[in-house]
Amino acid sequence: MLQVSSVTKYFNDQKIFSGFNLKVDQGQFHVIIGPSGCGKTTLFDALTGVIELDEGTLSWKQKLVFNLTHHAAYMQQKDMLLPWFSLLDNALLPSKTGGQNMVNAKKQALKLFNRLGLSEYESHMPNQVSGGMRQRCALVRTLMFNRDLILLDEPLSALDTITRRSLQSLLLLLQTEFKKTILMITHDIEEALLLADEIYLLSPQPMTISRHFILDQPKPRKFNDPVLLKIKADVLDKLEGDLIHEP
C-alpha cells in the first residue's frame, strides 16, 4: 500500500499543497483529475524525489520511505525517448543503467514489445514512429524498471483521441496482467472512468482533494454504463464550479 500522509510543498512562498493525503492499496488503479496548474506534476515530482517535499511522510508496503525513487517507476508527461537510441535500446535504458543481465532484459523487453503491439518496430528510431508508438515504447520502458508501483503523469495527453482510446486498454493491462499498483494523472474524465478504481478530484491551489469517487464496476468498462455517466456529470459539475470560483 502507498500511503501519502500530510505532505506539503512550497515553491518560494507559493503553497502548492499542504497536509495532502492519499492512499493506494496494492494492485489498485487510482486516478487524479484536476485543473491545469493545480500541482499534480509537482506532487508526483515530490513523491518520486525529483524535488524535495517540505513536510509529510510517505510509506510503501508498510515501510516509511524518504521518497519513491527506488520503489516506483515514474512516466513523465512527455515520452522522453532518447533520439539516438532505437525503441528497443530506449526500453532497455533502465536495465543498462541498473547493470542488469542484458540477455534477460532483452528477452523481457521483446516480450513487452510484442504484448504492447510494437513488435517489428524494435530497431526503429523514435523519430521514425508515430506518437502512439513512442508512448507505447515509453510504457515498455516504464515496465522495464520492474517496480511494483507506477506513477503516470498524463501518459496519453499528447495523443489524438483514437490512438488514446486504443492505448487506454494497454494501460488497463498494467493492472490486470502486470499486477502493478498505479497512480495516474489525467485530464480525460472518460479515461478515468474507464480505468480507475478510485478517482480523486482536485481543487486549484492550494491543491486539496475536493471529491473522491469509488468505482467498483468491473473492467473493461463501457461508457454507456449509467453509473459512470452519473459520475461523469458530477465530476464535470464540480470542475466547472471550481473554475467559476477561481479568483
Binding site: K78, L82, P83, K96, M125
Partner: protein, 245 residues
C-alpha cells in the same frame, strides 16, 4: 548539387573571373598578383615540389588535432563533472584566448626547435579552445528532464555520460571540431613562417623572397584545399555519427 552549393560555386567563379579579367586588362606583373589561371597551373605543375611540404604541414595539423582531441575532450568532461574545476580552469582557458598565440611563435621555436614540435604545439593551442568549449557547452546544454529520467533510473555518472551527455553534446562537439580543423592550418603555417626548414609556410616565405608569387599562391591554394578537405571529412563523420537529427 543543391541550390546553395550552386550559388557558392557561381560566386567563386565570378570572383575568379573578375580577378583574371582585371589582372589581364591592367597588365599587373605576375610577381605582384598572378592571375588565377597561372596559380592553378603552378599548383598542378609544381605539385612534385609542393607535395612534400604539404605532407609536412598536414602532419603537423593532424598531430595538433589529435593532441587537441586527447586533451580537450577529457578536460571538458572533467570540468563538466566537477563545476568547481570548471571555475578554476575557466580563467586559464579565457586567458589562453586573450594571449595572441602568434606572438608566442618565435618563443616556441626557441623552446621547441625548428622541427615539427613547435608547429604541432601552435596548432594544438589553437584547436584546443574551440573543441573544449563547444564540448563543455554541449554537455551542459543537456535537457534537465532527461537528467531527471536518468536520476530516477539510478544511473552512475559514467553511464549518464555514455548514454546521455555525450550523444547530447555531439552536435556541438562537431561544430567546434569543424572550427578547429579549419583554423588549425593557420597555427601550423604561422609556426613555419617563424622558423622551419620545410612545410607550406616555409615554402611561402621562401618563394616570396624569390618573387615567385605564383608559387606563394599555389601554396595557399594547397593549404585551402587541405583545410576544406578536413572540414568536409569532419562533416561526413558528423552525418555518419549523428543520424538522429
Amino acid at each position: 548539387m543543391n541550390r546553395n552549393n550552386l550559388l557558392a560555386a557561381l560566386l567563386i567563379a565570378l570572383i575568379l573571373g573578375l580577378w583574371e579579367f582585371f589582372v589581364h586588362i591592367l597588365a599587373v606583373p605576375v610577381f605582384i598578383l598572378p592571375p588565377p589561371s597561372s596559380i592553378f597551373t603552378t599548383a598542378v605543375i609544381q605539385a612534385p615540389r609542393i607535395l612534400p611540404h604539404a605532407v609536412i604541414t598536414l602532419t603537423e595539423i593532424l598531430m595538433g588535432i589529435g593532441l587537441a582531441l586527447c586533451t580537450a575532450v577529457p578536460l571538458a568532461i572533467i570540468m563538466f563533472a566537477k563545476p568547481a574545476l570548471e571555475k578554476a580552469f575557466a580563467p586559464f582557458l579565457v586567458a589562453s584566448q586573450a594571449i595572441p598565440v602568434f606572438a608566442l611563435a618565435p618563443l616556441l621555436v626557441v623552446w621547441l626547435g625548428y622541427g615539427i614540435a613547435s608547429k604541432v604545439f601552435m596548432a594544438w593551442v589553437i584547436i584546443f579552445f574551440p573543441i573544449c568549449i563547444s564540448l563543455l557547452e554541449g554537455l551542459k546544454s543537456c535537457d534537465p528532464e532527461f537528467k531527471i529520467l536518468f536520476r530516477l533510473m539510478g544511473a552512475s555518472f559514467f553511464k549518464k555520460l555514455m548514454l546521455l551527455y555525450w550523444p547530447w553534446a555531439l552536435p556541438r562537439f562537431f561544430a567546434g571540431l569543424k572550427v578547429g580543423v579549419t583554423v588549425a592550418t593557420i597555427g601550423a603555417v604561422i609556426g613555419e613562417w617563424v622558423g622551419a626548414q620545410q612545410g607550406l609556410g616555409f615554402l611561402m616565405i621562401q618563394s616570396n623572397a624569390r618573387l615567385q608569387v605564383d608559387l606563394v599562391f599555389a601554396a595557399i591554394l594547397w593549404l585551402t584545399a587541405m583545410g576544406l578537405s578536413m572540414w568536409w571529412i569532419v562533416g561526413i563523420l558528423e552525418k555518419r555519427i549523428i543520424k538522429w537529427n
